[in-house]
Symmetry: C2
Subunit: 219 residues, 2 copies
């Protein structure tokens, strides 16, 4: 599958790129195409060293999205809507699956879930996408450093919410390509607040209990 990772130059973008590149055609997007190319180059080095397929490409966000069937929005909450607006303006989103791992979060002392009035970052993103684009909310519980470490087998559950059942199934499949991952159906986009709020919880638990970055398993 052709996958664009918008904001793929850092944070969970890195791990998603490295892991999805094994079975997919991954394109890193950045506002700065040169930065995207540099990140792609660095990721390919990691893959090559391991004798793995090393064909990640880097492009501007708009070109990355245009060339992809699935678009992962690996950007911070604060720039999510502007990033989608820019993609729309460029006509880069038509009928792709758009995957949002975005979490609205504040950190007074520990982290808090601070959803916008509509209830979730997912819903806020839905309000600005082109009709025909299928939104999928997932990956909020993937800790970036563990994702980027290809020696980490993960062993997590990943929850996937979507209104379009076919898009949900596709993304559940992608999630299971990341490692030893079980993808669970989290319901519709209405249920996205329940998975977005897991991120501040995971961060707080790691801080308070002095553990490695944590993810989640349902038992």
């Amino acid at each position: 599958m052709k996958i664009a990772i918008i904001g793929g130059t850092g944070d969970i973008g890195e791990g998603l790129a490295l892991r999805l590149a094994r079975q997919n055609d991954v394109i890193i997007g950045s506002r700065d195409a040169a930065k995207a190319a540099e990140a792609a180059n660095n990721y390919n080095k990691v893959l090559k060293e391991r004798g793995m397929k090393d064909d990640i490409r880097g492009m501007s966000n708009e070109d990355a999205a245009k060339n992809a069937e699935a678009v992962i929005l690996a950007v911070k909450y604060q720039v999510a809507v502007p990033t989608l607006d820019a993609l729309n303006k460029a006509g880069a989103l038509t009928n792709q699956i758009v995957i949002t791992p975005i979490v609205p979060m504040t950190k007074p002392k520990l982290c808090a879930f601070s959803p916008p009035p509509c209830g979730s970052a997912t819903k806020e993103c839905c309000a600005v996408i082109t009709p025909g684009v299928r939104m999928v909310s997932t990956f909020q519980t993937l800790p970036a450093p563990r994702l980027a470490n290809l020696d980490d087998k993960l062993g997590f559950d990943v929850i996937v919410c979507a209104d379009d059942e076919a898009a949900k199934k596709t993304v559940m499949g992608l999630a299971e390509q990341l490692g030893d991952i079980r993808a669970l159906d989290g319901g519709s986009l209405e249920e996205a607040p329940l998975i977005e709020s897991l991120t501040p919880l995971l961060i707080n638990l790691a801080i308070k209990n002095k553990t490695k970055p944590l993810s989640i398993k349902f038992v």
Copy 2:
């Protein structure tokens, strides 16, 4: 430890009573003392059959709370504040630890977290307790039927939030008496929304993925 389970005649009250009775003095509370005595009697039968200590008692909610060091509010969200008010009016709460597993939840199609304006059921309960009472928010992720089945080893994590660190430690200890449980520090009562919203998530995941009642583990 002397533990009162308010509303201990059903739901997670049953499992908490059966499991905590092994190492504690458990009192079932109900608005109807006779109902509490009947539930206590039924629980004692289960314990006796297993050759375990069978000294659970049943009393009115007020008497149960007065006789306890820790008071678990195992009631539905809708009656939580009225129940606390009644305990206060009877002078039943002075300096106990009050444990709230209460979750404000609605079910349009799947479950949603529907916190009151203050942000959580925990905070709402805090607003009506007597000064000196130490509130602890936990147990939201314990599935009632698995808790009530003493053959289930559980194997979950339980998150505990409190402002009073000593009360938090005490309740983390109680949590670990329930079974193969790891108690995790979830921070202060400010962080309670993040754990209250796990209940609708767990219910939804079990429905959508057709699993047994689920709990959670952080890995």
